[in-house]
């Protein structure tokens, strides 16, 4: 009878998953190597550009600081002082993005409550708020944001109008190593309110859990997740997708949501196998609106978030 060690050796080797036939694996490894080399070159070029811009910026800033001869109509230089959003408490680390509220312009803000000094990203209390009429004061805030992890913390992500009702939804993100976790908030005009969107699935058909609407924004080797707006014959939907990519196909799961106010109702779902080239992927826009903050040049910026 074989020893326990030999039996374990046999059982574990037989029990280990095995990759499929990889006739082109060497070619894929070569392609991966070229991509790494290209990324390094881009990184070097970027670093040089940043250093040059920083140097130029320093000269400009010093020039302005020592130039007392301001011409008529000259405006004061921008300062690091955060804007007064009428919240009644000091704030810092403010991010803003324009939103549309019933066709008018407003602003969404993500900010940190200042306590003596400004807490580092990932620390302190961070909130999302909205100025609904563009008067520079926040009219509505949502409960404190959770899971704002260092080193990036929570950010304003995008402000798409996902249901075409003329009012933006506000997307807020938390950055991870390979992408973002995103929450969606509904903007209510009267009375002013910001409410987290909540998933309901009356037919039990979706690939989503019910409760607060969250989705990931990730595009890594083998896996992608994101969201998009689709226009269907019976109205517009907010579609959340995930794709597991295993050559040569991708398993794609999709859930269609109809969003009314703060309620996201699952109206359709599918699970398909498609060629990898046809698999959905997140980009740097959400429903046609640009991503903000560190996600602005997704996915290039993601690696930096992890450092």
């Amino acid at each position: 009878m074989p020893s326990i060690d030999d039996q374990l050796r046999t059982r574990m080797r037989e029990g280990a998953p095995r990759p499929g036939g990889d006739g082109d694996l060497v070619e894929r490894l070569a392609a991966r190597k070229h991509r790494r080399a290209a990324t390094r070159r881009i990184g070097t070029i970027g670093l040089v550009a940043v250093v040059l811009l920083a140097t130029a910026g320093t000269f400009v800033a010093l020039g302005r600081a020592f130039n007392t001869d301001r011409g008529p109509g000259a405006t004061p230089a921008a300062t690091q002082t955060p804007p007064d959003l009428g919240l009644g408490f000091p704030i810092c680390d403010v991010m803003s993005m324009p939103i549309t509220v019933a066709g008018a312009q407003g602003n969404a803000y993500v900010f940190t409550k200042a306590i003596d000094a400004c807490p580092k990203p990932g620390d302190g209390h961070r909130f999302v708020g909205a100025d609904l009429d563009g008067d520079g004061t926040v009219d509505a805030t949502a409960p404190e944001l959770a899971d704002c992890f260092a080193p990036v913390g929570c950010e304003a992500f995008a402000a798409p109008d996902v249901n075409g009702d003329g009012t933006s939804e506000i997307a807020v993100s938390t950055a991870g190593a390979d992408g973002y976790g995103v929450w969606l908030y509904a903007v209510r005009w009267s009375p002013p309110a910001l409410e987290p969107n909540t998933v309901v699935d009356p037919q039990g058909i979706g690939n989503l859990q019910t409760g607060a609407l969250q989705f990931a924004w990730v595009d890594v080797v083998g896996h992608a997740e994101g969201a998009r707006c689709d226009t269907l014959p019976n109205g517009s939907t907010f579609t959340i997708f995930g794709a597991d990519k295993m050559d040569p196909n991708a398993n794609v799961q999709v859930t269609d949501l109809r969003i009314a106010g703060a309620t996201a109702t699952v109206v359709g779902a599918s699970h398909d196998r498609v060629p990898i080239a046809e698999a959905p992927a997140p980009g740097n826009t959400l429903c046609g609106t640009p991503l903000h903050g560190s996600a602005a040049n997704f996915p290039e910026a993601v690696a930096a978030n992890a450092s």
């Binding site: 037989e14 990759p19 190597k33 973002y180 976790g181 969250q214 989705f215 990931a216």
Partner: protein, 169 residues
């Protein structure tokens, strides 16, 4: 490492390395990704003229480090991902399920030690070096892992072997 060596390495060692990392991480796709990344890094190093002694050991170590690091770094996405009901993975069957379950019950370090020992055939000294710990700790972890796995997989000890083990202990 030239293309001939690379092809030979991929043919001879790649499947077992992926299997080992997948057993440790319980995630086949990321195991494949980690092993491929490690091979590419080894390839780059050899092109720069660096010598890698025992390429398979080096690739295994780097792939496992990448997997550990990735598991730590994915915590944020995982906060969002539970909202998405996981796609049904290809279900392992028979022996694979038993081995996977038995390993899943082990603490992470015991699982790693067992995989390095029984799948990749590393010596206790090599495992200690890779895990940056002492040989004594490796032996202790291996002893516990071996006992648990033997029980979970209903392995029976040869009486002579048992006596032999008892004498060694």
């Amino acid at each position: 490492m030239d293309e001939v060596e690379l092809r030979e390495f991929v043919r001879e060692r790649y499947p077992r390395l992926v299997g080992a990392v997948a057993l440790m991480t319980d995630d086949f796709a990321s195991a494949e990704d980690a092993v491929q990344e490690a091979i590419v890094r080894a390839w780059e190093r050899t092109e720069r003229g660096e010598q890698i002694v025992a390429l398979d050991r080096w690739v295994a170590a780097v792939a496992m480090n990448l997997s550990r690091s990735r598991l730590r770094r994915l915590r944020v996405e995982r906060l969002a991902r539970p909202r998405l009901v996981a796609a049904q993975p290809v279900q392992p069957s028979g022996d694979r399920i038993d081995v996977a379950r038995a390993l899943a019950d082990l603490p992470r370090r015991q699982r790693e030690v067992a995989v390095l020992r029984y799948v990749l055939d590393l010596s206790t000294e090599e495992i200690a070096t890779q895990m940056r710990t002492s040989e004594g700790t490796v032996k202790s972890q291996l002893f516990k892992a071996r006992g648990h796995l033997a029980e979970a997989l209903s392995l029976v000890e040869d009486p002579d072997e048992e006596n032999s083990h008892a004498e060694h202990r």
